[in-house]
């Protein structure tokens, strides 16, 4: 046995650390870890979320007697470009534009519900904000062209005028109902949004294009093509969870659609 160890007489006190293996934790730490474990599991698996929807109807007005909401859509005769001399009456509440380029629907197409007409529809998109850079389209309402009021038109010189559809809608609990109700999440905790911004488009089944709509005709704008989009392309819609109703407001927060129609005008690109 070789002696490799050299012990010297210490000048001061020395101590030796003896490691003792401890598997036992202070009371509660592991419980906390288990709780955390459950949280991780919830994150991974997910918990049941309530995606059920509620039906919101248009808020009553005139002593709670009336609930109908009206949408009038106005189209522009594009044979004449929008200019300083354009007036608001150049936008017409009709699908008929025989002189436009391209022309509107023919009265025959409308009367006989031909496919280019019946495949067309109005689309109301509901966003969380008016900012086009950050907005999310949460839901959409489609208004089919088979609904709506009628106007008199000729489909043949050999027979009397007939009534054909026009883009003027009165939606309510009875009668034309498609597009009257808004269906949105029942559980506010999941996604708490009760204010939406509504824009309107028309899908032209003849041409396969969307036509954007504004809440005022371009004729009223000083600059016909440079304007604040958040002001002219959106109306505000507020849901009331207590009464399960909604109201529509203009940019000044005045209620619209309560008795008078909400008007949408075709936007014409320069």
């Amino acid at each position: 046995m070789s002696n490799k160890f050299l012990f010297t007489i210490p000048k001061g006190d020395k101590s030796i650390d003896l490691p003792i293996e401890i598997k036992w934790d202070f009371y509660g730490r592991d419980d906390s870890i288990e709780l955390y474990e459950e949280e991780v599991l919830v994150d991974i698996i997910g918990v049941a979320k309530d995606f059920e929807i509620l039906r919101f109807s248009h808020s009553p007005y005139i002593s709670n007697q009336k609930t109908e909401i009206k949408y009038d859509f106005y189209f522009y005769d594009s044979s004449t470009p929008v200019s300083a001399s354009t007036v608001s009456t150049d936008w017409v509440n009709s699908y008929l534009f025989p002189n436009a380029n391209p022309s509107g629907f023919s009265s025959t197409q409308i009367y006989y519900y031909e496919k280019p007409f019946t495949k067309s529809f109005f689309k109301l998109d509901f966003y969380d904000t008016k900012d086009t850079q950050s907005q999310t389209n949460y839901f959409t309402i489609i208004i089919p062209v088979q609904q709506g009021a009628t106007e008199s038109a000729s489909i043949s010189p050999l027979r009397p005028n007939v009534n054909i559809r026009k883009p003027s809608y009165t939606l309510d609990f009875v009668g034309d109902k498609e597009g009257f109700f808004i269906y949105w999440l029942k559980n506010e905790a999941f996604l708490n949004i009760d204010t939406f911004y509504m824009s309107a488009k028309f899908f032209d089944g003849r041409l396969g294009v969307f036509v954007k709509m504004m809440n005022e005709p371009q004729s009223v704008l000083s600059d016909k093509f440079i304007f604040e989009s958040s002001r002219y392309f959106y109306n505000k819609v507020v849901l009331d969870y207590t009464t399960k109703t909604y109201q529509v407001f203009d940019y000044l927060d005045n209620r619209i659609g309560a008795g008078t129609p909400i008007k949408w005008y075709e936007y014409i690109n320069p």
Binding site: D25, R29, I33, L41, V47, E52, L54, P60, F173, K186
Partner: protein, 595 residues
């Protein structure tokens, strides 16, 4: 092992009926205040099916939905001179009335017809009828949001309490003897002595299903030689289906008139003679508590579904209408409807009429009749006779082909006591009593928390089971001042409907558990202490999604963390005297001992 006093070990098969015996491992923890700290990685097995089931069992939110197939036969024709009603009938004598009106020039010709289907439909669609729902000279101005609540209101309710004091009345079909009793007295009967299977027998004929079995006992409302408890020897007489309505005891030679033919009384079912108190049935009218407001109901048309009978309508030419306006009138419709509610039902805090966790909700439908075609007869105390109520045994016509006395205005026992509303219209002036206006009446909407009468039921503590003896029905009759169908206004013909339609949300086991509180853990708080067994007895509440080998159980969608039970309901508006028992059950062939 600080919790060792709380641990009980029970055999697996005792947990529920089809549960197997299993090897149980019982970890005995050493008492400690420290816990092993698992170092490094942890792993855990995740069973998604188990997670789903855990969520399902923990949820107590119910979103009840149903689909109504509305069956209605529009049979009662009448007449009215009130223009908005007269101009909107489905005419039955239009040709003769038009000719008479043309020849005489009179304006008071009776145009006979039936009210159009819109007066009974779940959702009215006559929102734009000039002279009726729109000016000029309209009956009232239509409010579109009320389209689904003008005629009927829809609620969710549950069995809340029992009423043992409700007076009842039935008529024995064979003898026309009137049976009057208090519901808590039991099942009414009339005695008829017969010979059955060669033995002298005392038969007790009941107007309702007695729910008794051979070998059980019956406690009568009268006694013979000091005893009122008799064993049931057999069921039925020689007629088909009579087993459910007739029970028999052996006639051992009873003296006197106690068991003479025609004697009436009431009987209660007793399961065991030894312990009458513990095994006797109680009888009551279940009362339903309303859980929703009428505004919570969302009623919509059910897609393209229609009943098989189709729509019955006709074109009324302008020359054949009193106002010379052509239109299409509808007698009967066929549209189906779906009903949901924008209010969730939390069931855990609710106990039923037996103080047990609820297993049944009810779709409660109440006629409102805001347009004023119904009711309208003053009751002498400042209000009007409104909706009447009775039970299935009250529905048949009497021997004269008229409604039973039960339904007459003078019988206050059949009043629902729902509050009545009324109004008059400017145009009705001069068409009512004493040339005054017509008073149009309707049933005001009941509210959340209101309690309404329901089915007639039996409960037996020893059996731990509730049996519906007879379903409740409501009856509506026409307002003779606005539409007259006959001369007898004190007890008119009318329409019946069943207001409560059960929706089973969970079920109790078909077996009965028992246990001693000292040796069995988990005895539910709704258990009953049976003095017969000297144990607590109860029926297990099956978990959601569990269906036992006998097919008992419920399974329906669970998503969004919510239960979605669903029910298809055939809602009948039944004319008086109609055979309303639509289900004919073909009995199994009887097999005698020789076979």
């Amino acid at each position: 092992m600080g919790n060792r006093q709380d641990i009980r070990v029970i055999l697996g098969s005792l947990r529920y009926k089809s549960a197997p015996n299993t090897t149980l491992l019982f970890n005995v923890p050493l008492i400690q205040t420290e816990k092993e700290n698992v170092e490094f990685d942890r792993s855990i097995d995740v069973d998604l099916e188990q997670v789903f089931d855990d969520e399902r069992q923990n949820s107590d939110i119910i979103r009840p939905t149903c689909k109504f197939s509305l069956l209605f036969q529009n049979v009662y024709s009448g007449f009215t001179n009130y223009p908005p009603f007269e101009n909107n009938l489905y005419y039955l004598n239009s040709a003769s009335a038009a000719a008479l009106q043309c020849l005489s020039g009179a304006t008071t010709i009776s145009w006979t017809g039936v009210p159009q289907y819109n007066e009974f439909d779940f959702i009215r669609t006559d929102y734009n009828v000039s002279g009726y729902t729109q000016p000029p000279n309209e009956h009232l101005t239509f409010i579109p949001k009320s389209a689904s609540s003008y005629n009927w209101n829809f609620f969710v309710s549950y069995g809340y309490e029992n009423d043992y004091t409700k007076p009842m009345r039935a008529t024995d079909k064979k003898t026309n003897i009137i049976l009057n009793w208090i519901v808590g007295d039991g099942i009414p009967f009339i005695i008829e002595n017969t010979v059955y299977n060669g033995r002298n027998t005392v038969s007790f004929r009941c107007p309702v299903k007695h729910g008794m079995s051979v070998g059980e006992f019956v406690k009568l409302s009268f006694s013979y030689n000091g005893t009122d408890l008799f064993q049931i020897d057999s069921l039925g007489v020689s007629t088909f289906g009579s087993e459910e309505y007739v029970f028999n005891i052996i006639d051992v030679g009873y003296l006197g008139g106690t068991f003479d033919d025609g004697v009436t009384g009431t009987a209660k079912r007793v399961i065991l003679q030894d312990n009458e108190l513990d095994t006797i049935s109680t009888y009551y009218v279940r009362r339903n508590k309303i859980l929703t407001e009428s505004e919570n109901a969302v009623l919509v048309k059910a897609g393209f579904e229609q009943n098989i009978f189709g729509e019955k309508k006709k074109y009324e030419s302008s020359g054949f209408t009193p106002d010379k306006v052509a239109r299409v009138s509808v007698k009967e419709g066929s549209q189906s409807y779906t009903l949901s509610f924008n209010k969730d039902i939390r069931v855990n805090p609710i106990r039923d009429n037996q103080k047990r966790p609820i297993t049944e909700l009810f779709f409660t439908v109440i006629y409102k009749g805001y347009f004023g075609w119904m009711f309208g007869i003053p009751n002498g105390s400042g209000s009007y006779y409104g909706l009447k109520q009775g039970w299935e045994f009250n529905l048949p016509l009497n021997s004269f082909g008229a409604p039973d006395y039960w339904w007459s205005n003078s019988n206050s026992n059949s009043d629902t006591d729902f509050p009545m509303g009324s109004y008059t219209t400017p145009i009705s002036s001069g068409y009512g009593p004493a040339s005054g206006p017509i008073t149009f009446t309707y049933v005001e909407s009941i509210k959340e928390g209101d309690i309404v009468d329901g089915d007639c039921c039996e409960w037996n503590d020893y059996d731990q089971k509730e049996r519906v003896i007879s379903n409740i029905f409501h009856k509506l009759t026409f307002n003779p001042f606005s539409f007259r169908i006959g001369v007898n206004t004190a007890n008119q013909l009318g329409y019946y409907y069943q207001p409560h339609h059960v929706l089973t949300t969970r079920v109790y086991s078909d077996y009965i558990e028992d246990g001693d509180i000292r040796s069995v853990v988990g005895i539910p708080d709704y258990s009953h202490f049976s003095t017969t067994k000297n144990l607590f007895i109860w029926r297990d509440l099956y978990p959601y999604g569990f269906v036992d080998s006998g097919g008992i159980g419920v399974t329906y969608p669970f998503l969004n963390g919510v239960h979605y039970p669903f029910k298809n309901i055939i809602f009948r508006i039944i004319p008086e005297g109609t055979n309303y028992n639509e289900q004919t059950i073909i009995a199994e062939p009887t097999i005698d001992p020789c076979e």
